[in-house]
């Protein structure tokens, strides 16, 4: 079945090897018993899972299945980013509790993003069977608008340049690089100070990604008086309720900076951290389109989106990723000064 536009809704799947290994494993039985329903969806699966589905021989060709990276190599990050962008629902995510890898931050980030975006998350074999038996058919028929490709993109979004080509790490000029600025609430003043001290350097970057509250805070701080109202209305629309309240409080604490439209226009605020903004930045890092991450986190307070924090670090640590990650104001200041001396 296809939607009126000829597109099928996307089903995200990531299943641990322990659950799908063996010819009569629960996962393979699930695929075989419900193949007629699964074919109504476009499958987006992490590497090993996608290969297992393809190997059943029930799909004619691999174009019906979209391969993400393997789970441990960023596939779960990609899946979480698809959910954060609204490109994928529901998600079947089954881990083997005996598997040590089951407890990694990207797995928690995916679960969190599904909850925040109100995406159906299925975490057990029995849940998958129940969904396939009773919900899947109806859901596929109801979900007849194609996934909107643009909803998640901030105004003025464009793709950054990758700094890895055929596994070779490239040295890009600052003007072609993307930097991400992220700060927890208790560290937003530090971020504001960092930006104030190094604004001439930061505005040289091609793109400046931020999570929602940080981005709007900086935009409003350096906005022209003509743009202030417009940015305030946009921030209110983007950051609902609690986060907008946080923004207002932070604005009151900080003195307005000297307008710098070249800087504020390069800012691309994504969703707020709790809403998956960190996941979107992690995906940019994974694709080597975000080259520097300045992340001021607050180690003293437990955060509901702590998994996303560790997710960013882990993603930047993958061997095929070429990104710099700095997580405290002192190191960030040293990095910025050295770069300023060189440029």
């Amino acid at each position: 079945m296809t939607t009126s536009q000829g597109l099928r809704p996307r089903l995200g799947i990531s299943v641990s090897q322990g659950v799908r290994r063996g010819p009569c494993s629960p996962f393979l039985r699930f695929v075989r018993d419900h193949i007629e329903v699964l074919q109504k969806y476009q499958i987006c699966a992490t590497g090993g899972t996608a290969q297992s589905v393809l190997d059943t021989g029930l799909y004619e060709c691999d174009t019906d299945i979209h391969f993400l990276r393997s789970g441990s190599q960023g596939g779960v990050v990609q899946l979480a980013a698809m959910v954060a962008k609204g490109h994928c629902a529901p998600v079947i995510f089954i881990t083997d509790p005996r598997d040590l890898w089951a407890d990694v931050p990207e797995n928690h980030a995916l679960k969190r993003v599904c909850i925040e975006r109100e995406v159906r998350l299925i975490t057990t074999y029995a849940g998958a069977v129940e969904w396939a038996c009773f919900e899947a058919e109806t859901a596929a028929k109801q979900n007849n608008s194609p996934p909107s490709e643009d909803d998640w993109e901030p105004l003025g979004w464009y793709d950054g340049q990758p700094n890895v080509e055929k596994a070779r790490f490239l040295k890009l000029d600052t003007r072609k690089q993307t930097i991400a600025l992220i700060a927890h609430d208790a560290r937003k003043e530090h971020m504001a100070r960092f930006v104030q001290d190094h604004i001439d350097l930061l505005r040289q970057f091609d793109r400046i990604l931020t999570t929602g509250t940080t981005g709007w805070l900086l935009r409003l701080r350096y906005a022209d008086s003509d743009d202030e109202d417009r940015y305030m209305r946009a921030a209110l629309a983007e950051l609902k309720g609690e986060r907008f309240g946080t923004l207002a409080v932070q604005l009151e604490k900080l003195r307005k900076g000297k307008p710098n439209t070249k800087f504020s226009s390069k800012l691309l605020p994504l969703s707020s951290g709790p809403k998956g903004g960190d996941v979107l930045i992690a995906n940019e890092i994974l694709e080597n389109r975000c080259h520097v991450v300045i992340f001021f986190y607050d180690p003293d307070t437990a955060h509901p989106h702590e998994a996303d924090i560790r997710l960013l670090e882990r993603t930047a640590q993958l061997p095929e990723v070429n990104a710099l990650c700095v997580s405290d104001p002192v190191s960030a200041d040293h990095w910025a000064r050295r770069l300023e001396e060189r440029t």
């Binding site: 010819p23 009569c24 393979l28 075989r32 018993d33 190997d55 021989g57 029930l58």
Partner: protein
């Protein structure tokens, strides 16, 4: 009450598993259950079978013990070997070739002796077994005898490979076909057809070298009939009890043969088309 035409596939599978004591049912979605051109059903079935066999052999052999695999004959079995060769080449090209080379020892055994194909020699079970041994590794253990033995010849002692397959095989892969003038065995036998059951008599189908009635019992043997060198009815039953027999049969022409095999308790895993699965659900 759901009828077969509107029953969801999972319900059809569940009922077939319960009714016939099957470990698994795999249904391949097809547009129609009749073949207009060769391979229209056989190739998708072979793909699904290849997937099952790949997973079964690799996981079983990885346990480190000796794995014995029995292989049937014919077009579908040949397509299974081709599909696995393709997958192995693809994995090799991607640098994952070792996934097809499990640690343990694998013995590949044809289910019947040499049939004497002149035109379609690649359908011979020994040929197919050799191809699979090149994909997964292991050795081929053949009967080294013709499949068909004259009734006037002395009854051979049971070949040791028959009991090895019946009692020890981890997987036995076979198809089932209708007994008619297009059947591969009928074509091979030619002038000696009087040694085989008459086409049109009470034969639902042929499963490897075993002729089955619609009730799933072996066709009563006459003195003029040939002896078959290969796994017999009792051998299939014994292997099926251990969960080893995988039957690949789907489509309008093969339904009756598949049903006979199920009624005879000769099958552990059924690989068929979704339409045939629904037909079997109705005709239990």
């Amino acid at each position: 009450m759901t009828t077969s035409s509107n029953a969801p596939l999972w319900e059809v599978h569940e009922r077939l598993r319960e009714q016939h004591g099957l470990q698994e049912v795999i249904s391949v979605p097809v547009k129609r259950d009749s073949e207009k051109k060769k391979g229209e059903l056989g190739c998708p079935l072979a793909r699904a079978c290849a997937g099952y066999l790949q997973e079964k052999v690799v996981v079983t052999a990885e346990e480190g013990r000796r794995t014995r695999v029995g292989i049937g004959w014919g077009f579908v079995m040949c397509e299974v070997a081709k599909e696995l060769e393709k997958r192995s080449d693809k994995a090799e090209a991607a640098g994952h070739g070792t996934t097809f080379r499990p640690r343990g020892e694998i013995m590949w055994s044809p289910l019947v002796g040499n049939l004497g194909h002149k035109r379609d020699i690649e359908w011979e079970p020994t040929q197919i077994a050799e191809r699979l041994s090149r994909v997964f590794g292991g050795t081929v253990d053949s009967f080294n005898l013709p499949a068909i033995i004259e009734p006037s010849g002395s009854l051979p002692k049971p070949h040791p490979l028959v009991s090895a397959l019946a009692d020890q095989a981890d997987v036995i892969l076979t198809s089932a076909s209708p007994w008619n003038h297009q059947n591969g065995l009928f074509t091979i036998a030619r002038a000696e057809r009087q040694g085989l059951p008459r086409v049109g008599s009470d034969v639902a189908g042929l499963m490897s070298g075993v002729f089955l009635t619609p009730k799933g019992t072996p066709v009563p043997r006459r003195k003029t009939y040939y002896h078959f060198t290969g796994l017999d009815f009792e051998g299939f039953q014994s292997a099926a009890k251990r969960g080893a027999v995988v039957l690949v049969a789907g489509g309008e022409k093969r339904r009756a043969a598949a049903l006979a095999a199920l009624r005879g308790h000769l099958v552990s895993v059924l690989i068929t088309t979704n339409s045939t699965a629904r037909w079997l659900y109705e005709h239990q």
